[in-house]
C-alpha cells in the first residue's frame, strides 16, 4: 500500500510542480512549502533533482536572483514547452481521474460494504 501511494505521489509530483509554477516563478524552498501544503511531503533530495531534470529538459527555466534576502536564490519558471507539457499532462490526468472516478462510482455500493462507515457497528 505504501509503495503504491508513494508511486502515485511520485507520478503526480511532476504535474504538481508544473501546476505550482504555472502562475509565477518560485524558488526551491517556496516550492517545497507549497507542495507540503498541497499534500506532497517531499524532501530536498527529491525536489531539487526533479527541478534539475525539468530544467535540463527545457520544461522549466532557472535563473539566479540576488534579491532582498541578500544571498542568491535560484528561481524557476515554466517555459513555453513547459506550458504545453503541463496542459497535456492535465488533460491526461483529467481523463485518468475520470476513469478512476467512474470505476469508484460504479463500485460504490461494494466499497461501502467493505469499508465501514463512520459510526456504523461492525
Amino acid at each position: 500500500m505504501e509503495t503504491w501511494d508513494t508511486q502515485l505521489r511520485k507520478g503526480g509530483l511532476e504535474l504538481a510542480v508544473l501546476l505550482l509554477l504555472w502562475r509565477h516563478r518560485m524558488y526551491g524552498l517556496e516550492l517545497l512549502t507549497s507542495l507540503g501544503q498541497a499534500g506532497f511531503a517531499v524532501s530536498e533530495g527529491t525536489i531539487y533533482p526533479l527541478l534539475n531534470r525539468l530544467s535540463t529538459q527545457g520544461v522549466i527555466s532557472a535563473e539566479w536572483v540576488t534579491g532582498e534576502s541578500g544571498h542568491p536564490r535560484k528561481y524557476y519558471r515554466l517555459t513555453a514547452s513547459g506550458l504545453e507539457q503541463a496542459s497535456r499532462m492535465v488533460r491526461q490526468w483529467t481523463e485518468f481521474a475520470s476513469a478512476i472516478d467512474a470505476l469508484v462510482e460504479n463500485n460504490r455500493f461494494s466499497l461501502e460494504r467493505v469499508a465501514p462507515q463512520k459510526g456504523a457497528k461492525a
Binding site: 526551491g28 530536498e44 531539487y48 533533482p49 526533479l50 535540463t56 535560484k74
Partner: protein, 313 residues
C-alpha cells in the same frame, strides 16, 4: 551563519563535489550553490528553535547524504546522452590506445625491416667492394700506361697544333700585310692613274685649245694673206681686180636674184613687195638670231673662264 554551520555546509558541499567529479563543472557549481541557498532560505525563515548548526544538519539531512544527492542529480541527467558520451569516450580511449599500440608495433616492425634492409645493403656493398677493389687496381695499372701515352700524345699533338696555329697565324699576318701593301699599291696606282689621266686630259685639252688657236690664227693668217693679196692685186692691177670685183658682184647679184626669185615663188608668188618685206624680215630675224647666239656664246665662254679662275685661284 555561525561557524559551525559553515563547517557543516562546507563539508557537505565538499563531499558533494567529490561525488560529482564525473559530472560537468556547471552541475557541480549549481548543486553546491543550490544547497547553500536552500540552507540560508530555511534559516532566514527562523522557524526552528534548535541551535543553528542542528538546524543546518537537519536541512542537509533532507538532501540525503552528499553521495545519494549526487547520484540523484546525475541520474536525472539525460541518461542516453551521458552513457553515449561515456561509452564514446571509452571507445575513443580504447581506440586511441589500440592505435598507439598498433602504430608502435607497426613502427617497430618497419624499423626492424628497414634495419635489416640497411644491414643487408651494407654487407652487399662491403662484399662488392672487397671483390672489386683488387680488380680495379689491376685495371688501373693496365689502363695507366695507355693513359699516360695518350696523355703524352695529346700533349704533343697539342704542342704541334699550337705551333702550327702560330705558324698559320704568322702566315696569315704576312698575307694580310701583303694584302695591305697590295691594296695600298693599288690605291696609289689608282691615284697615279687618275693623276695621269687627269694630266693627260689636261694636256689633251691644252693641245686642243692650242690646235684651235693655231687653226684660228692660221685662218686669220690666210684671210690676212688673201686680204693682202687682194689688196695688193687691186693696188697693183686695178683693171684685173676691177674685173674680178665686177664678176664677183655679178655672181653675187645673180645669186641673190636667184634666191629672191625662189623665195618669191615659194612664199609670195606674184607679190614682189611681199618678198621685200619677207626678205627684210628674214634677214632681220637671222641677224637677230646670230647676234643673240654670239652674245650667248660669249657669255658662256666668259662665265666658264671666270669659274675656272675661281677653282684654280
Amino acid at each position: 551563519m555561525q561557524p559551525e554551520s559553515h563547517v557543516l555546509l562546507r563539508e557537505f558541499n565538499r563531499r558533494l563535489r567529490a561525488a560529482l567529479k564525473d559530472a560537468p563543472n556547471h552541475v557541480r557549481v549549481e548543486a553546491t550553490l543550490e544547497v547553500e541557498s536552500h540552507v540560508q532560505d530555511v534559516l532566514s525563515r527562523g522557524r526552528g528553535t534548535e541551535p543553528e548548526p542542528e538546524q543546518v544538519a537537519c536541512i542537509l539531512a533532507g538532501f540525503g547524504t552528499p553521495e545519494e544527492y549526487a547520484s540523484a542529480l546525475t541520474s536525472q541527467l539525460p541518461e542516453a546522452a551521458s552513457a553515449t558520451v561515456m561509452s564514446g569516450v571509452k571507445d575513443m580511449l580504447t581506440a586511441g590506445t589500440d592505435l598507439v599500440h598498433g602504430s608502435g608495433r607497426l613502427i617497430l616492425a618497419i624499423g626492424r625491416q628497414a634495419f635489416a634492409l640497411i644491414e643487408s645493403a651494407v654487407r652487399s656493398a662491403v662484399a662488392g667492394a672487397r671483390w672489386a677493389l683488387p680488380r680495379l687496381v689491376m685495371a688501373a695499372d693496365a689502363v695507366r700506361g695507355p693513359l699516360w701515352s695518350a696523355r703524352d700524345l695529346v700533349v704533343a699533338g697539342g704542342r704541334h697544333a699550337g705551333v702550327g696555329a702560330a705558324h698559320l697565324a704568322e702566315k696569315a699576318r704576312a698575307a694580310s700585310a701583303v694584302a695591305f701593301r697590295t691594296g695600298r699599291s693599288a690605291r696609289r696606282l689608282g691615284e697615279d692613274c687618275a693623276q695621269f689621266a687627269g694630266r693627260t686630259a689636261g694636256l689633251a685639252g691644252r693641245a686642243l685649245r692650242w690646235t684651235f688657236r693655231l687653226l684660228a690664227m692660221a685662218a686669220l693668217a690666210v684671210l690676212a694673206l688673201i686680204s693682202l693679196g687682194v689688196a695688193g692685186f687691186a693696188a697693183l692691177a686695178p683693171d684685173i681686180a676691177g674685173f674680178f670685183v665686177h664678176a664677183f658682184q655679178t655672181e653675187v647679184g645673180l645669186f641673190l636674184d636667184a634666191i629672191r626669185a625662189e623665195t618669191i615663188a615659194r612664199y609670195a608668188p606674184g607679190n614682189p613687195a611681199a618678198y621685200v618685206q619677207t626678205g627684210t624680215a628674214v634677214v632681220a630675224g637671222a641677224l637677230t638670231v646670230a647676234i643673240a647666239l654670239a652674245g650667248l656664246l660669249g657669255f658662256m665662254l666668259w662665265s666658264a673662264r671666270r669659274r675656272r679662275g675661281s677653282l684654280t685661284g
